[in-house]
């Protein structure tokens, strides 16, 4: 008889927890749902009062226009810039991080100095970089933005990867060296596989940083390598707001990051936890 009320209390607690969790999920997911919903709505539905909570029919016209007018190309530009810069940042950053972790290159404080570069407000150097790029002829070019994003991502990659590499037991590397591997082979055969989760986690965040950049893309592009973040602003005019295009383009811009994170979630969680332990 005594167990029943206790059981009920436990059930009530559980229900309350689920209710709170559901409420929070709805709060967080609703803006994303709304974005997707608008992207499928007709103009009449977008401006309807009271609001239309879901599109009456799924129509892809808002997306088709983006492809027809060539606006979707800007998502491709973002993809190229973010992927290539992430690739280079990961390669150079990991090698640099290995050097810092194993050879104490630059002493104990070089790592801190490198990460401190991230603390600089990008807007403070946007114009000097623009001037330099004008001189180099790199404005509105892939190479210009790839180099810039790589440079900006390097401190983060170095800092994170140094932590992950320091976690790897030194003995494993020594064994590989004794077995005849050189340092590059140690990196390839021991460090990369052992730090795989950290590599993926760092790569995902590096990709997302570049993907979300607006300031440099705005300042350093004109027509050829416009990114999707800049393209979205083109839909806000003094006398026009293309809500359907804004929503559809934002969905297109969300999908690659969503796929990347969803695919690498396993590594991401493990990588972040490792970083957290390392502090």
């Amino acid at each position: 008889m005594k167990g029943a009320p206790f059981h009920r209390r436990k059930e009530t607690k559980l229900v309350v927890r689920y209710l709170i969790a559901t409420f929070l999920v709805v709060i967080f997911v609703f803006p994303i749902y709304w974005l997707f919903a608008i992207s499928f709505k007709t103009p009449g539905e977008i401006f309807a009062v009271p609001p239309v909570w879901y599109p009456k029919s799924i129509q892809f016209n808002n997306y088709a226009v983006l492809f027809k007018d060539g606006d979707a190309k800007t998502v491709g530009n973002s993809l190229v810039l973010s992927s290539v810069s992430t690739f280079f940042a990961m390669i150079f950053g990991t090698v640099a991080a290995y050097s810092l972790a194993r050879f104490k290159t630059g002493g104990e404080n070089l790592g801190v100095w490198i990460i401190s570069q991230r603390m600089m407000p990008p807007v403070a150097i946007a114009f000097p970089i623009f001037l330099f790029y004008v001189w180099l002829g790199w404005v509105d070019t892939y190479i210009g933005l790839i180099i810039l994003y790589t440079a900006f991502s390097l401190p983060y990659v170095i800092w994170m990867m140094r932590g992950y590499i320091e976690e790897i037991p030194l003995e494993l590397e020594e064994s590989a060296l004794i077995d005849g591997c050189n340092r590059w082979e140690v990196l390839w055969r021991v460090v990369f596989p052992m730090a795989r989760s950290g590599l993926f986690a760092t790569a995902v965040f590096t990709f997302v940083f570049s993907w979300n950049d607006f300031l440099f893309a705005l300042v350093l592009t004109r027509t050829e390598v416009t990114t999707y973040t800049v393209q979205v602003t083109h839909y806000f005019g003094g006398q026009s707001n293309f809500w359907s295009k804004i929503a559809a383009m934002s969905v297109l811009g969300t999908i690659p990051v969503f796929i990347t994170v969803a695919t690498l979630q396993r590594y991401l969680v493990r990588g972040i936890s490792m970083g957290a332990v390392k502090g």
Binding site: P43, G44, I46, F47, V49, N61, V65, F127, F130, L131, V134, V139, L218, V219, R222, T223, T233, H234, Y235, F236, G237, G238, Q239, S240, N241, F242, W243, S244, K245
Partner: protein
């Protein structure tokens, strides 16, 4: 409703009408520009244009046509309005010379001209014989949006001006008229003063609210409301500065009266009107939920359904009020020119002559007549000939009333405040309006805003700014002439 083919026919008729109306010996400015530009065949000129609908003009119409006529390519750099000034200055300061021609909001002209970013156009106007056609630009635009310090820096190219749009069917409805008379003791008429507007707006809301119709709705987001304040403040007799001391005068009794009235009027407008931007207000009007509104010219066209069947305008809500719309000047009779665009040449361009010829051709009577009728862009009539164009007059049944109202506005419009670092002054106004909607005291808000304006003036230099203000205030459209 007009389709693209019909539009082509109308343009052809318009072009023929223009050509036939010109003496046989006189070459049009458009022809002159084309002939002279043919020597630049194969070159590319880059032009900065506002992103969105505006840029469909050069990408879909004028750019391809110019290429066909001259063999020159036109590269369009689309930039969001908020970024245009920065992008232009950035290019100039760096010496990149990436832009040849520019779309410039006239209020920026003093800043850009003083910085040296704009090419003086007088020698080109003379060289290519454009002066006579410049004179046929409607007075408000020609006299106020073309020169800085007596020199031409841009060709006014967009007849942006606020008009009042109202539901003619409601104003002419005997039942509504009767109810209004009973309620207010006055005859229902389109308001000519802001005092009348308050009576009509509140009265119509009381009478029609049950049917889901409010007396009025306005765009109220600060960037838009700022223009409405500038207009109304001057129509009510306000001056922005004391011309002798350059002390800000927006916190005068007139300023406080206007601010207070603006907030009170929200009470008879739709809920949430404080957040209405251009599109939200458009939707409200087109869906028949407001009896009066004030906005730029596209409202008038889209309310009649002109061009809204085009793909580029598929975001415009379907109109439910076609054939029921009337056009008038906003209360006070001196509407704000509110932004607009002028065509200029970048001083760092490496293709100045070629770029000039392109903007002369764009701005010419022949070509601009076609451009202002493009259903999918936002260029509004700005030449005397545009208001009387037979093709335009036939676009919808009461297009003649629309053009007549625009023509009237083109004679009495008020120039946007234009000083050195105008945007800093405007930002203060935008913030003041945000505070107004948040419920702060109008006098307190305006006192603070005036103090900020004085700080900005001090930093720029009182004497320097005083000269610019004096030149601006001397323009015919700066303050209403009583």
């Amino acid at each position: 409703m007009i389709n693209r083919r019909d539009f082509g026919k109308i343009s052809l008729v318009a072009s023929l009408a223009t050509t036939m109306g010109r003496p046989a010996w006189a070459a049009s400015a458009a022809d002159t520009a084309v002939k002279a530009a043919q020597q630049y065949k194969g070159r590319t000129i880059t032009i900065v244009w506002e992103a969105g609908l505006q840029s469909l003009d050069p990408t879909h119409f004028s750019g391809p046509k110019w290429k066909e006529l001259t063999g020159m390519d036109v590269k369009v750099v689309e930039v969001a309005t908020a970024e245009m000034f920065t992008k232009i200055m950035q290019d100039y300061k760096s010496g990149a010379g990436a832009y040849d021609a520019l779309n410039v909001i006239p209020a920026w002209m003093p800043d850009l001209a003083q910085a040296g970013a704009l090419e003086v156009l007088d020698p080109y106007v003379e060289k290519y014989g454009y002066a006579p056609e410049l004179q046929t630009i409607a007075p408000t635009y020609r006299d106020n949006q073309m020169k800085v310090g007596g020199k031409i820096y841009g060709f006014p190219d967009d007849g942006d001006v606020f008009l009042m749009y109202y539901r003619r069917d409601l104003f002419e409805d005997p039942a509504v008229q009767k109810a209004f008379k009973e309620k207010t003791g006055k005859d229902l008429a389109v308001p000519k003063t802001w005092a009348d507007f308050d009576v009509v707006g509140a009265g119509l809301t009381d009478i029609l609210k049950d049917k889901g119709i409010y007396g009025a709705s306005f765009f109220r987001q600060p960037p838009y409301a700022m223009y409405m304040f500038e207009e109304r403040f001057r129509n009510e007799g306000g001056k922005f500065f004391d011309a002798d001391t350059m002390k800000a005068a927006i916190n005068s009794d007139v300023g406080v009266k206007v601010f207070t009235a603006m907030r009170n009027e929200n009470n008879f407008m739709p809920p949430g009107v404080e957040q209405f931007g251009f599109v939200e207000n458009l939707a409200t009007f087109l869906q028949g939920q407001s009896a009066m509104t004030i906005s730029w010219p596209p409202y008038g066209r889209w309310a009649e359904g002109y061009g809204t069947d085009q793909e580029a305008l598929n975001w415009v809500p379907k109109t439910t009020i076609a054939g029921k719309v009337g056009y008038a000047l906003p209360p006070g009779g001196h509407p704000e020119l509110a932004a607009g665009f002028a065509l200029s040449i970048s001083s760092t361009s490496k293709n100045k002559d070629a770029a000039y010829l392109f903007i002369q051709w764009l701005n010419s009577e022949d070509v601009s007549r076609q451009r202002v009728q493009l259903p999918y862009t936002l260029r509004d009539p700005f030449r005397d000939a545009h208001y009387a164009d037979p093709g335009y007059l036939a676009l919808w049944p009461n297009a003649k009333d629309y053009l007549a109202a625009l023509k009237q506005a083109s004679q009495t419009g008020l120039l946007d405040l234009s000083l050195l670092q105008t945007d800093k002054y405007e930002e203060v106004l935008r913030q003041a309006i945000s505070k107004l909607w948040a419920g702060d005291d109008p006098k307190t808000i305006l006192d603070a805003a005036a103090a900020q304006w004085n700080d900005i003036t001090q930093k720029i230099g009182v004497d320097k700014q005083k000269m610019v203000y004096a030149a601006w205030a001397a323009e015919s459209g700066a303050y209403p002439k009583i």
